[in-house]
C-alpha cells in the first residue's frame, strides 16, 4: 500500500541577507577596502550557506538547467512545438511537450535514453521537472535543495515497486511506469504559474 504523504521538515532554502550591515567590521581600512571585504564576506557566506544553489534546478532560475545538462551528460533543446501526448510513438524517452504558452519547457535527453523536461515559468523559475527513461535520473541534482525533503518522505513510507505519490509541505513527487520504462514528475505547487494545471506536467 502506498504510505501516507508524510509531512517532512522544510527544505534548507537559505536566502542570503542582502541587507547585511558593515557596522560590525573594523573601521581602520579605507572605505573602498571595507566595501570589498564586505562583498567578499557576503559572497563567502552565500557559497557556504547555500551549497546547492549553484547546481539546483527545481525552484531555481532557468540558468540552472545548464548545470543539469552537464551533470546528466545530455543534449538540451527547447520544446517550442506542442506535441501530442498520444498516438505515434516518438522517441521513447520523450515526455510529451506542453501546449500552454504560460511557460516554456527545456528538454535534456541523454545517450542512455533518459529525457528530462524542465518547466520554466515566465519569471524564469523552474517550477517543475519530469523524466522518463530506463532508470530514474539523479534526483539529487534535479530537485536540488528540495531533495532532502523528497528523500525523507520517500523513505518514510513502505518501499513499493508500483509507484510513488508524495505530497510534502512544498513539493509533489510522483513516479509511475514499470521496469524498462520509468516515469515521474516533481513540482512545487506554490510556484505553478497562474492558469497552469499540474496535469500539464508530463
Amino acid at each position: 500500500m502506498t504510505g501516507p504523504p508524510d509531512m517532512s521538515a522544510s527544505p534548507a532554502r537559505i536566502v542570503a541577507d542582502s541587507g547585511a550591515s558593515p557596522k560590525g567590521l573594523r573601521t581602520t581600512d579605507p572605505p573602498l577596502l571595507q566595501i570589498v571585504k564586505v562583498l567578499l564576506i557576503l559572497g563567502a557566506l552565500i557559497i557556504f550557506l547555500a551549497p546547492t544553489s549553484a547546481i539546483a534546478t527545481l525552484g531555481e532560475p532557468v540558468q540552472s538547467i545548464a548545470a543539469d545538462q552537464q551533470a546528466l551528460g545530455g543534449q538540451l533543446r527547447m520544446l517550442n512545438q506542442p506535441q501530442p501526448s498520444t498516438g505515434e510513438q516518438a522517441l521513447h524517452a520523450q515526455p510529451s511537450a506542453p501546449s500552454n504558452p504560460a511557460y516554456t519547457v527545456e528538454q535534456i535527453s541523454t545517450p542512455a535514453g533518459m529525457a528530462v523536461n524542465e518547466y520554466v515559468s515566465p519569471n524564469g523559475t523552474v517550477f517543475a521537472v519530469s523524466w522518463r527513461g530506463p532508470r530514474l535520473p539523479d534526483l539529487s541534482q534535479l530537485l536540488g535543495s528540495y531533495f532532502a525533503e523528497y528523500q525523507t518522505a520517500a523513505g518514510g513510507q513502505p518501499a513499493q515497486r508500483q509507484r510513488l505519490l508524495l505530497q510534502t509541505e512544498h513539493l509533489v513527487v510522483e513516479t509511475s511506469g514499470h521496469m524498462r520504462d520509468l516515469r515521474g514528475r516533481a513540482y512545487i505547487p506554490a510556484l505553478l504559474p497562474p492558469d497552469v494545471n499540474a496535469d500539464e506536467i508530463q
Binding site: 501526448s85 542512455a112 520517500a154 508500483q162 510513488l164 524498462r180
Partner: protein
Amino acid sequence: MRWWWLVGLFSLAGFLGACGNNSSSPSTPSASPTAAANVEPISVNLGPEGNYPNGLYTSVTVCIPGTSNCQTIKDILVDTGSYGLRILASALTLSLPAQTDASGNTIGECAPFVAAFTWGPLATADVHISGETASSVPLQVIAPANFPAPPADCTQSGLPAADTVSSLGADGILGIGPFIQDCGTACATSGASNPGSYYSCPSSGCVITTESLQNQVQNPVASFPADNNGLLIKLPALGAQGTPTASGSLIFGIGTQANNGLGSAQVYTTDDLGNFTTVYNGSSYSSSFIDSGSTGIFFLNSSVTGIAQCTGGNAGYYCPSQTLNLTAQNVGQNGTSGTVAFSIANAEKLFSTANAAFNDLGGPNPGAFDWGMPFFFGRDVFVAIAGHPTPAGAGPYWAY
C-alpha cells in the same frame, strides 16, 4: 491494524513453511498431482507480513546448477511488470554460485523499480517452476550482508531500497513480463548509452560495467526448454467485496499444450517498452500496461477522473462514496481494440474487511493506465515474450 490477526496467522504460516523450505532432494513441482507439468499454483493473499492487498504469490525452487541441491522459496511475488527472478538473501539458505566477470569480480545490480530499487549480486541457479526448468539462469540476490553498499549512482534517485520482507512485501519477485532481460541491449553496450544497472564489484568498490544479454537477470520462462514463448495467468472472478484469498494457475507456454491455447483471446501487441494505449473519456494514454505486481487499477488522477482520493495512509487509492462502474478501451499497436469494464470501490471500505483479493481496488497514476491485479480476476491473461513465436505471431503482446 485492521489485519493484525492475519499478521500473526501469516507469520505462523511463514514459520511453518520455512521449516519445510530447505529440501536437499530435487524438488520438482509444487503443483498438485493432477496438474499438468506446465501449471504452477498461484495465490492472492495478504503476503508474508499480512498487509499486502492483492499480492499474487507463488513458490519457486532454485538449485545449484546441475545438482539436486535445491531450496523451495515461498511468497514470491508474480510480477508481469518486471523481468527476472530476485530473491531476498534473508530467504535464501542455499549458496548459489555468484556470477563473476573476466577478472573474477562479482557482478552486482541496481535494479530500478518505480518506487524502490533492489541492490545485490547476481547468482546462477537452475530454476524449477511447476514441471518446467530453466537451467543456469542469472538471478539477483537482494541485499546479502557481505556485499558492498549500493553505490551513489544507485541511490541518487532518492528512492528507498527494497531489501527486507517488509519493504518488498515478499521473499522475492518473479518478473515474467513480455521481455527477457531486465535491461536489454543498452546495458550490454559500453559508453554513455549504458544506463548503468550492472556493476563489477572488486574489493575497492563497485563500478558500472557492461553486461551481456545472456548474463543479465532474465525472465526464466524464456529459458524453459519448452513452453517458453509466454504464459497464461488464470484467476477466478470475484464479488464486489473481495475474498480472503483467491487461487489460480500460472500456465506456461502459449498454444504449446492443450491447456494454453489462445482460444478467443484478443491479441494486443505492445511497443518495445511493453506499452499499449488506453482510451478513457475520449483521451488516449499511450503508456498503459498490464501489471500483476500492481495491487490496483491505477489510472490518471482525481482532477481528471473526478474520483476522490483516499486520505491518510491510503492516499494512494481512490475512495469514491459509491462503487463506480467504468469503461475504457485498450488499443494494441496492431490496432486491436476492445472495451474493458471495471469497477472502482472505496478502498477504505475494502480494507476494513479481512479480505485480500479485490477486483475493484484502484488509485491514481497520472498520465496512464496501470491495469493491476483487479484486471486479472475472471479473465485469462496471456503474456507473450518478445521475439518468441506463438500461434498469433511473436511477442511482445498481451492477449485476453
